[in-house]
Symmetry: none
Subunit: 199 residues, 4 copies
Amino acid sequence: MPIKPTTGKFTKRRLEILMAAASVFAEKGFHGCRTQDIADRLELRQASLYYYFPTKEAALEAVCLHAVETAIARLAQITENPSASLADRIRGVIHAYLHDLHAHRDCLIVLAEQRRYLSGDQQQAVRAQSRHYQALLQQMFEQAAAQGLLDPAIDCPLAVRALIDLCHCAALRLQRDTQQDVTHIIDQYTRLFCSGIEH
Amino acid sequence: MPIKPTTGKFTKRRLEILMAAASVFAEKGFHGCRTQDIADRLELRQASLYYYFPTKEAALEAVCLHAVETAIARLAQITENPSASLADRIRGVIHAYLHDLHAHRDCLIVLAEQRRYLSGDQQQAVRAQSRHYQALLQQMFEQAAAQGLLDPAIDCPLAVRALIDLCHCAALRLQRDTQQDVTHIIDQYTRLFCSGIEH
Amino acid sequence: MPIKPTTGKFTKRRLEILMAAASVFAEKGFHGCRTQDIADRLELRQASLYYYFPTKEAALEAVCLHAVETAIARLAQITENPSASLADRIRGVIHAYLHDLHAHRDCLIVLAEQRRYLSGDQQQAVRAQSRHYQALLQQMFEQAAAQGLLDPAIDCPLAVRALIDLCHCAALRLQRDTQQDVTHIIDQYTRLFCSGIEH
Amino acid sequence: MPIKPTTGKFTKRRLEILMAAASVFAEKGFHGCRTQDIADRLELRQASLYYYFPTKEAALEAVCLHAVETAIARLAQITENPSASLADRIRGVIHAYLHDLHAHRDCLIVLAEQRRYLSGDQQQAVRAQSRHYQALLQQMFEQAAAQGLLDPAIDCPLAVRALIDLCHCAALRLQRDTQQDVTHIIDQYTRLFCSGIEH
DNA sequence: CATGAATGAGGATTCATTCAT
DNA sequence: AATGAATGAATCCTCATTCAT
C-alpha cells in the first residue's frame, strides 16, 4: 500500500468503515472488541479492513479526529449566533452534540471514552483539535458573562467541561436506551444546566 | 480448596487486591489491562491473584459490588438527615461520591464504566444493588418535591441519573488530574446542579 | 491468458522484473521480503508483477535459472581457453563470477542462498544446470591435474566446491560493501586459492 | 514476566531452546521457519517459548551472541599457543569452528547468515563481539607475518575474512550433507588456505 | 498491460488460567 | 499462601494471490 488512491470511492468506503468502527468501539470499547466485530457490520472480510486502515489504533484515531472535527463545525454554527438567548445557545450546543445522526453520537462517545488508548502522538493530534472545541465554548461563556448573564460564582472553564460531561452522559443514555426521547433529554439537560433543579 | 479461609488475614489481603484491581480497571479499563498490571501494584506474583479471585471477571464483579455497597452505606447517612437544606444534601451526595478516599472513587469509576463487561448474571447482582442506590436518591428528590423545593418542570428520575452522571464525570476529572481541588469541584458541581449557571 | 506474449517488449520487461527480484532476494532473502519490495524498485504496482510471474516462487526459480545459465555461458568461454596458465584461468573463473554487472552477482547470491526454498521440482531443474556448471569446472581441474599443475593431495571435487564457495563469499562482500575494489578482491582470492597464504 | 527466575533450571531450559532455535534457523532461515518449528523439536508447546524469549527476534539475537561468545572462547585457546606451526594453528581455527558439536555449527551458521535480520541495536551488540573475534585472528596473522611466515602479497584483513568465509562454507557443507567426513574437510580446507591448490 | 480492491491462510504474540510444588 | 512453569484460545496483522475493470 505505498500509494493510496485519491478516488472518491476509496474515501467514501473508508468513511463507512470509520462509522462502523465508531459504532463498535462505542458499544464494546476499543479493547473489548475485535476487528472482526467491525467487519461483521459491513460487507467486508476482516482482512480487508487493513486496506483502509493500517492498524486498529489508526481507526480509533480516525474516529476521534472525525468526531472532534465535525463537532467543531457544528458548534461554530451555534456559537456565532449571538442573538439567541443563553439558554437557547446552550440548548443548541447540547442538540448539536446529541444530534439526530446516530453515527455522530457514537464518534463522540468514542472520543470521550476511548481516546486514552491512543499513543502519545495520536493523543496530541486529538488534543489539539479538542482544545479548539473547548475554546469555542469558552468564548460563548465569556460573552455571556460579559453580558451579566452568568452567575458570577461560576468557574467558567469548569462549567465548560461540565457541559461537555453532561452532553457525553446524555449521549451514553441515548446509546444504551434507544427508546428514549431525544428532545426530552435535551430539554431537561438544558434546563438543568441553565437553572438547576431548585425552584 | 473450593472453600476459602474466612480468616481476617485472608479477607484483608483480598480487599487490598480488590483495591489494586479497582485502580487498574479505572485507569486502563477492564480489557485494556492485564492481570499482571494488578500484580504489579502489589507485592505479589500474577499467578497468586488466583488464590483470591477465581477469574479476572470475578474481580471486576467484586469491585463493582464493593463500589455500590459502600456507596449505599454512605448515601444512607446523608439522605436520612432531613433537617439539612436541599443544596446541602446534594452537596453531601456529591461529597460522599467523590470522597477523600482515592480508592473509593476508583471503584465507582469502574462501576460506571466497566460493568458492561460483566456476564448477564453478574450484571443482575450489580443492577439490583444499583437500583437500591437510585431509589435512595429518588426518595430524597421526591421529599424535596413534596416540600416544593424542586422546579416542577424537572423530570425526577432523569435528574437522579443526571446527578449520578455528574458525580461520575467529576470523579473522572479527579482521577485524571490529581492536582485539582476536590472541595472546589464539589462546590461548583453542587451549585450547577442546584441553581444552574444563569444569574 | 495462459499463453503469454512472446513480444520482445514483454520479455524485456520480464527480465527487468527478474533483476529487481534478484536484487531484493539477495538483499533480504526470499522469505524476508515481500512482493511489494520488488514492485518498489520498479515503476510498477505490486499486483502487476503477477502479469509476468505466476507466483513469487516462480520468480525465484527464474532468478536461479538465469543465474546458472549465464554463469555457464561465461564459464564456457574461460575454460575452453587451454593456453592460459592455471592461475589465469582461476582468475578468469572468479572474475566471471564477480563480474562488473551488479545484477549478475545478485542472481548468483540468490542461487547460492535461496534455492533451498524452491519446491522439489524446481530444485531438480536448477540442480541439473548446476551440475553442468560444476562439471565444466571439474574438467578444468582435471586437465590441470593431468598436466601436473595441481597439488596431488588436493581432493578435486572438494576444491571445485571450495572455489565456488569462495566466489560466493566474495560476492557477498561486494554486495554488502559496495566501496570495495573488485579487482583487488579478485586478485587476492585468486592468489589465495592458487598459492595459499604461506610464504 | 516482570521478574525472571535466576534458577539454574531456567537457564538450562533456556539454553536447550536456544539450541533448538539455532538448529531451525540454520536449516530454514529466520523468516523461513515458524516458531512452531522450534517447539516441534522440544517437549514444549509453541506458546511456552515465550516464557523464555520475548520474541522470535530475541531468540535470534541470543543465538548469534551465543555463537560468537563461544567461538571467541574456543579461538582464544588456539591462538595463544604460539609454539604450533602456522598451518597447525590454521587447522586449529578451522577445527574449532567446525567442531564436533553439531549445535555449535548451527549457531555459527545462523550468525553468518541470519544476523542481518536483527534490529539495529541488536546488530551493534553482535558486531561488537564479532570484531573481537576478528581481532584475535588478525593478531595471529600479524604474528605470522612478523615471523616471515606469510606471503607478503597477502592482504591480511582480507585473508582473515576469507578464512572465516571458508569456515562458514565448510560448516554449510557439513550441515547439508551429514555423511561427510569432518576431518577430511578440515584437512583439505586447511591445505587450501595455507598452500593453495597449485603444485 | 496495469491496477484497485478484496481476501484466505497463515503466523507472531498476548494473556487468562491451571497446577504441581 | 504463593509461585514458577506451562498452555489453549484468542486476536492483530501480514502477505501472496485473485479478479473485475
